[in-house]
């Protein structure tokens, strides 16, 4: 499992107007300026605005240029960079396992409980689990699950808001 946050990244909270094509504008800008996106999560916050959390590979671009280029997009209203140590940051993962032996179910349940994850479905040796935590916790959760036989997984990418000072 590739550790998502092992490389240096910047986490940006980008407030955008809810206009057609705004996600394409943001994604297109990253592509044409050669900035690599590690993850991107987006959803509306109200009728007028959406909020995007973008995690950028820091080696591909200077934080200053990323912010300034983003700011040139007319539909981008506000950009804040959120240092991971002082921000509330969460990511969620859904994992489907197919165990080789139903004796292993208890081991997995124990593991999930240790991470404060959730078991969404169990049928025989098939299980669907979820975990919402910091991305590095997700990395370690998935590492530990690896030997049990991960069939499919989906991570949401990080979302973040500033911490309380």
């Amino acid at each position: 499992m590739r550790p998502v946050l092992a490389k240096e990244t910047h986490t940006l909270a980008v407030l955008v107007e809810n206009k057609a094509g705004v996600l394409a504008r943001v994604a297109g800008l990253f592509a044409r300026r050669g900035f690599n996106i590690e993850s991107l999560a987006v959803a509306p916050t109200d009728e007028r605005f959406s909020r995007i959390t973008i995690v950028v590979d820091a080696e591909s671009a200077s934080l200053d240029q990323v912010k300034k280029q983003l700011d040139k997009l007319i539909n981008v209203v506000d950009i804040r960079d959120l240092p991971p140590e002082s921000s509330a940051l969460r990511e969620m993962v859904l994992v489907r396992l197919s165990l080789s032996d139903d004796a292993l179910v208890d081991d997995v349940l124990q593991l999930v409980s240790g991470f404060s994850g959730a078991v969404l479905r169990v049928r025989g040796t098939d299980m669907i689990l979820s975990l919402s935590s910091r991305p590095e916790e997700l990395d370690s959760f998935l590492d530990k699950l690896q030997p049990y036989g991960i069939v499919e997984l989906q991570r949401t990418g990080a979302i973040a808001i500033p911490g309380i000072e």
Partner: protein, 576 residues
């Protein structure tokens, strides 16, 4: 007031003060063209949509007002992609209107459908796909606002046919005057922070070898007078980039001329040896800096730009000032008051020494030899009014025009600096002449460029926009030939345009122009005089020039500016 979307578009353009639209009709924009018949503005029917785009750009550059281009969907929209990219890179205020297939057909690969907003997203400042005709007045108002505020640039509005077509109920709308623009994500900062001004002043006052590096932003901000005031007040020499030619008169003793790949020796080396660069509306383009890690190695940098993304993009400034060039220079001068600046006498003498040893120069033609292109430009300059507007294409002739035309007025030099669009000159000249009908407008073109867009001379003839074209015919794609000669062992690949066709005289006459061919140096002045006397038709003067002439000086691509190559006949002399 009840109307259809097509009528609303024309009313909105009039509301923005648009006097002239360059365009070409077609399927998806047909309903709008029906309203053109009743509108109180001039429409110039071009011969290729690309021409309309460059005309809008030339108009904008010469007049300072936004240019407007209007075309249909699909192939017409893709034909204006080049002018949009050109205007985006050179920060030209422009609004493009494109027709689109009816909204319900979008995404079905309908006839003449292209994803125009998708295609132009990266080459416009912003673009719109309008779905409701009631939005037209406000969208048009926003588009003009965005195109002309902050760093200028092109904005595109894509209009599906169903919302403009009177025969379609979707097009019914109620006109409401646009309200003041409220764009929370677009609030350009115009005035400098006082602390930044103070920091800049400290550098300005103590520098002993300063250079003002003036870029196209000076002209976009209409700040030529402020630039001159700053240069004079601080006794600071100025280089004017390819995009800033004319920002300070070339006759001004502080003007060192053009820097960069084909800049003159003094302008290039002044930047290399400067202890302070005051970058005003310039963006450290690779054609100016040469190899970046050896560019102006000892200089501190004050960088003023209205686009904060330019500050620190290429070179980290010591003082970064976000703001409008005109207002920032005014606050610098204000803050400077009566304060003294360091003595620049020794620096100025050093520069004068370079100017004496390495002037811009070429070897005159041998007796019986072909015309030297530089000589043609000098004669054209001397034989034309001082405020003549010059539009050039891209290549050797562009560099010679920039080098040998003495610009004494701002806003008189039009060229494609950022994108390097061959074929720019004729349509840009037409746009400029349409906006400034009382000015003499010369397109200085090469034979390669001429063959790309000369059909617009038909537009010029039919629409009575009498531009003049100086066609420097060296029977080569000259700049490419020069690179092949210098960097590819003179293996000339696909650069020979010697034809023998076209016959430029017959071709020009067929398009309604007066055409004059000049081969003899003694006929150059007469031909220019004749051309300048004709004002009822476009004129093409074909100058048959020396095919093997090269542009000097030259900083070879990827080399340091300090490795500047002066013309062969200056190379024997010892460098100062």
């Amino acid at each position: 007031m009840e109307m259809d979307g097509g009528q609303a578009l024309l009313k909105a353009l009039e509301h923005e003060g648009v006097e002239i639209v360059f365009g070409y009709p077609g399927g998806a924009i047909l309903p709008v063209y029906d309203s053109v018949l009743d509108a109180g503005l001039r429409h110039v029917l071009v011969r290729h949509e690309q021409g309309a785009g460059h005309m809008a750009s030339g108009y904008a550059h010469a007049t300072g007002k936004p240019g407007v281009v209007m075309v249909t969907s699909g192939p017409a929209a893709t034909n204006i992609v080049t002018p949009l990219a050109d205007a985006y890179l050179d920060s030209v205020p422009m609004v493009a209107i494109t027709g689109q297939v009816p909204y319900g057909l979008i995404g079905t690969d309908a006839f003449q459908e292209t994803d125009t907003t998708g295609i132009t997203m990266s080459i416009t400042k912003h673009n719109y796909l309008v779905s409701d005709p009631n939005d037209i007045p406000q969208v048009v108002h926003e588009a003009f606002h965005i195109a002309t505020h902050g760093r200028p640039g092109p904005v595109l509005i894509d209009l599906p046919k169903n919302i403009t077509d009177a025969m379609n109920p979707d097009s019914a709308m109620t006109w409401r005057d646009p309200v003041p623009v409220d764009l929370p994500g677009f609030r350009p900062v115009l005035d400098a922070e006082p602390t930044d001004v103070a920091a800049a002043l400290e550098l300005l006052r103590s520098a002993t070898k300063p250079v003002i590096y003036a870029g196209g932003g000076i002209l976009k901000a209409r700040a030529a007078a402020e630039l001159q005031a700053l240069a004079e007040r601080t006794d600071t020499p100025v280089v004017t980039t390819l995009m800033a030619r004319g920002a300070l008169p070339d006759s001004h003793p502080l003007n060192l001329g053009m820097p960069g790949m084909h800049g003159n020796y003094t302008a290039v080396m002044a930047m290399q040896e400067a202890d302070l660069l005051i970058a005003l509306g310039s963006r450290f383009d690779d054609r100016v800096t040469g190899r970046l890690d050896s560019f102006a190695p000892d200089a501190k940098v004050i960088h003023v730009d209205i686009d904060p993304a330019e500050l620190g993009k290429i070179r980290q400034p010591d003082v970064a000032i976000r703001g409008d060039a005109k207002r920032v220079i005014a606050s610098l001068l204000d803050a400077l008051g009566d304060a003294k600046v360091a003595d620049h006498g020794p620096w100025r003498s050093k520069l004068s020494g370079w100017q004496e040893n390495y002037p811009l120069a070429y070897e005159p033609a041998e007796a019986g030899g072909k015309l030297k292109p530089q000589m043609v430009i000098e004669k054209l300059r001397d034989g034309s009014p001082g405020d003549t507007i010059v539009a050039s294409g891209v290549g050797q002739h562009q560099m010679w025009a920039s080098q040998y035309w003495a610009f004494d007025h701002p806003y008189t030099w039009l060229n494609s600096g950022g994108l390097g669009t061959m074929g720019y000159s004729i349509p840009a000249a037409i746009g400029a002449k349409a906006g400034m009908p009382d000015k003499t407008v010369w397109a200085i073109d090469g034979d390669g460029c001429f063959q790309m867009t000369c059909q617009e001379l038909i537009t010029a003839a039919v629409e009575n926009i009498p531009i003049k074209v100086a066609l420097l015919n060296n029977t080569y794609l000259g700049m490419v030939r020069q690179w092949q000669e210098m960097f590819y062992s003179n293996r000339l690949s696909e650069v020979d345009l010697s034809g023998p066709v076209p016959d430029y005289i017959k071709l020009s006459e067929a398009m309604g122009c007066v055409a004059i061919r000049v081969e003899d140096p003694d006929e150059v002045e007469d031909a220019i005089e004749r051309a300048n006397a004709i004002n009822d038709r476009p004129v093409v003067v074909e100058f048959v020039t020396e095919p093997d002439e090269n542009v000097y000086p030259m900083v070879p691509g990827g080399k340091s500016n300090s490795d500047i190559v002066v013309p062969p006949f200056q190379q024997k002399e010892t460098r100062a």
